[in-house]
Amino acid sequence: MARVLINLPERAKRGEIIEIKTLLQHPMETGYRLDSNGAKIPRDIVNLFACTYNGEEVFRAELFPAIAANPFIAFSTIATESDELVFSWTDDDGQTRTETRKIIVE
């Protein structure tokens, strides 16, 4: 299974802006490359990344082939409640990979 690295603080103060960094193992095949036989390698990218926090979407990214392989996305959100953050990556086939992290907000 493709690996994921998610970096966010374990705890934060209420109202604090936290930085979240995500890294997904995925080739982000553009659809423009040729294989060793000269045939086009079909496009296969993650085209959507989203983060929900206590049930509400706080960040969404539409991705295109111009996003580098092993996509790295860093964004921020306000620490509101102690709750779960759910990260999801969806590929061209509509398959979604989800990861959940908890944050403690004081």
Binding site: R3, K21, L23, Q25, P27, A69, N70
Partner: protein
């Protein structure tokens, strides 16, 4: 084979060695990278190589082969047992009678102890396990063994490093000893120390082994590259590690 190495030793004695880099002037490829590439390596949360380290960690615990053993079953916690391991490789393997690099060692364990099929060169699994093991030596100095049995092989590697090859008739030494720091097309020529392998190479958009990188260099001078696992390749790796003795391991490095 002995006569070959005897001949290699004699050859080394007669070849004028090109200007070697003084030990204190040795610098990692990291120093020649752009600030952005350096930042990509230094931030563990953004370094793409760490994805394979994470993968390798999973494989370490996975049972494999007819023996149904995982790496952990024999080596327990890698952070302890593998610390410093990559810093010593390639090592002389008595059973096969020649040096083996880390990838070959992993495959030897896999076939002999786990009784499983060996991993293919540059396969995701082999890269992941190799980088996971090598990462346990992150921050440690390269410390090749002083084993006398390695001497003929490192002499051979020395000779290979200084030998002109390919249509461009260039040796590794001419770029990496004599012209490091200067530019080849748009890129700065590094000194060629294997401090961060397996490495995430931006050109590959993936992690890859030292042997893959060496093959790229050889294709670059229009020489037929060594096959994966060839004795020449391992001899060259051995020489490169000795040449880099004392330098800090930074696996997984990020390079252009």
């Amino acid at each position: 084979m002995r006569s070959l190495f005897g001949a290699a030793l004699a050859l080394v004695a007669t070849i004028a060695i090109a200007a070697e880099i003084a030990p204190e002037a040795r610098r990692s490829g990291h120093d020649f990278d752009s600030p952005e590439t350096r930042a990509m390596q230094d931030d563990g949360t953004a370094n793409p190589g760490m994805l394979w380290v994470s993968e390798g960690e999973g494989l370490w615990a996975k049972k494999a082969g007819t023996a149904a053993l995982s790496c952990r079953d024999c080596h327990s916690d890698a952070q302890t047992s593998m610390k410093g391991a990559a810093a010593r490789y390639p090592v002389f393997d008595t059973a096969v009678g020649r040096p083996v690099d880390l990838e070959q060692r992993i495959n030897l364990c896999r076939t002999e102890h786990q009784r499983a099929e060996p991993f293919a060169w540059e396969s995701e699994d082999l890269l992941a396990l190799t980088v996971f093991v090598a990462h346990q030596s992150h921050g440690l100095p390269i410390a090749e063994d002083d084993n006398p049995e390695l001497k003929p092989f490192s002499a051979w590697g020395d000779e290979l490093f200084h030998r002109r090859e390919g249509q461009f008739n260039l040796s590794c030494s001419q770029c990496h000893d004599d012209n490091w720091g200067k530019r080849l097309a748009g890129s700065v020529i590094p000194q060629g120390h294997p401090t961060g392998y397996p490495v995430y190479r931006l050109e590959w958009q993936s992690l890859g082994s030292l042997q893959r990188r060496l093959r790229n260099c050889m294709t670059g001078v229009r020489a037929a590259p060594y096959d994966y696992g060839a004795s020449e390749a391992v001899a060259l790796e051995l020489y490169l590690m000795e040449r880099a003795r004392g330098m800090t391991i930074e696996t997984p490095a990020v390079r252009p």
